[in-house]
Point group: C2
Chain length 220, copies 2
Amino acid sequence: MNTQALQLGAVLYPGFEMLDYFGPLELFSVVGSAAININTVAQHRGPVAAAIGSEGAIGPEVVAQYSFEDAPAFDMLLVPGGSGTLTELENEVMLDFLRTQSKTAQWVTSVCTGSALLAKAGVLDGHRATSNKQVFVIASMQSDKVDWVEAARWVEDGKFFTSSGVSAGMDMTLAIIQKLWGDEVAEMAASYTEYTWHRDADKDPFAKELNVLAKQLGMV
Amino acid sequence: MNTQALQLGAVLYPGFEMLDYFGPLELFSVVGSAAININTVAQHRGPVAAAIGSEGAIGPEVVAQYSFEDAPAFDMLLVPGGSGTLTELENEVMLDFLRTQSKTAQWVTSVCTGSALLAKAGVLDGHRATSNKQVFVIASMQSDKVDWVEAARWVEDGKFFTSSGVSAGMDMTLAIIQKLWGDEVAEMAASYTEYTWHRDADKDPFAKELNVLAKQLGMV
C-alpha cells in the first residue's frame, strides 16, 4: 500500500449495485495507485454478492478486504446504492460505521441510494444532497434536515459528493478527480475509458422520472 | 439458476478492466435473471483481481463461480479487456476455452482488448471487429484475417459483438438487449441506470485517439 496515496474505503453490502461501485472505482483506478488506493470494506471480510436489478443480492461476488471492525480510518468513503440499501437502512452496524468514518474522512461520496444510508446515519443533515431519481423517496424520507435536490446529476456540498442513479456516479467521480488532481487527469481518465463525460452537475435528463419506480412499487 | 434464462459466461482473468466487466453485467442484471443469468468464470474458481489502470492485477477481487474446466457450455460469452490481456494472449488454456465456448455459444461478445483474445484464439477470422482505440494495435496485430474497424463504438457481425474501450461496452450491451428483448427493455435498462445511451454504433468520438497510448508505450 502506498501510504502517500489517498485511501479510499469503498463500502460493500449484500445487494449493492454493480455499476454504482465499479463505475467510480474504474475511474479512480485510472488515476493510479500512487494517487489513490482502493480498499474494499464490508461488515464482514470476504465475498459480498451484488444486486441483480431490483431482485436482491444474488449477483457476482466481490471480496471485502476489510471488515468494518478492522478497517482503518479512510480519507474518502464511497457508498453505493442498490436494492440491498433497504436492508442496510435497518443495520445499526452499517450506520455506525458510516457515522464514525464520516467524522474523520476528508471526502464522503455516494451513488444512487447510497445517500439514503448517509442520510439515515445523520451525516448529511444540514447539507445539500441528491439520489436516484426513480426511487428518490427512499433517500428523501430518511431525513428532513437534508436539503434534497431533485434535479441534479450530482451535488457537491463541502466534503460531501452525492450522485443521482448508477451511471451518474461516473460523472461525479470525474468531478472529484478534477477537483483533487486537475482537469488534465480527469480528461485522461474519461479518454482512457472512452467515456463521454457529462460535466454539468445541474443538467439532469432523468429528473423527469422522479419516483417512477417507487410509485410502481407502491412506495409513494 | 433459472434454466429457461440465457446463460451468460462472464470471463475473468487477473488484470481485467473493472468497467469492461461490470458495465455490461449491470445492464444485463437490470433485464432480470428470468431472462439472463450471469455466471462468472475464470481459469480457476475463486477470487480474481482486477487491473488498476495500466498497472496490472492489484485491484478489487471478484469471485469466479466456475473454472474453465467445470464450466458448462454458455449461451453467451463476455470477454473483458484490461492490462491483463497481454498475459492472457500467451495463455493457451484461456485461448482454448474461448475457442471451445465460441463454437457452441449463440453470442460471443467482447469489450476493449477482449477482442485481442478472441482474435488470437482465431474465432474472429473472417469477421468484422473493433477494440480499444488507444491500444488498437494490441487487437489488430493478433490476426490479419479479421476485418478490423478503426472507427466504431461497437461492431456487430453475425454472432459476434465487439466494442471499443471500456464504456463502449455499455452501449454495445444495450444494443444486444435491444436485439434480444426489444427496444422497450433496452430503454428501461438505460433509464434504470440513468445512462445516456449512445445508439449509433458507427459514431466513435474516440477513434481520433487511435493507438495514442500504444505509441506512448513504444508498442508501435
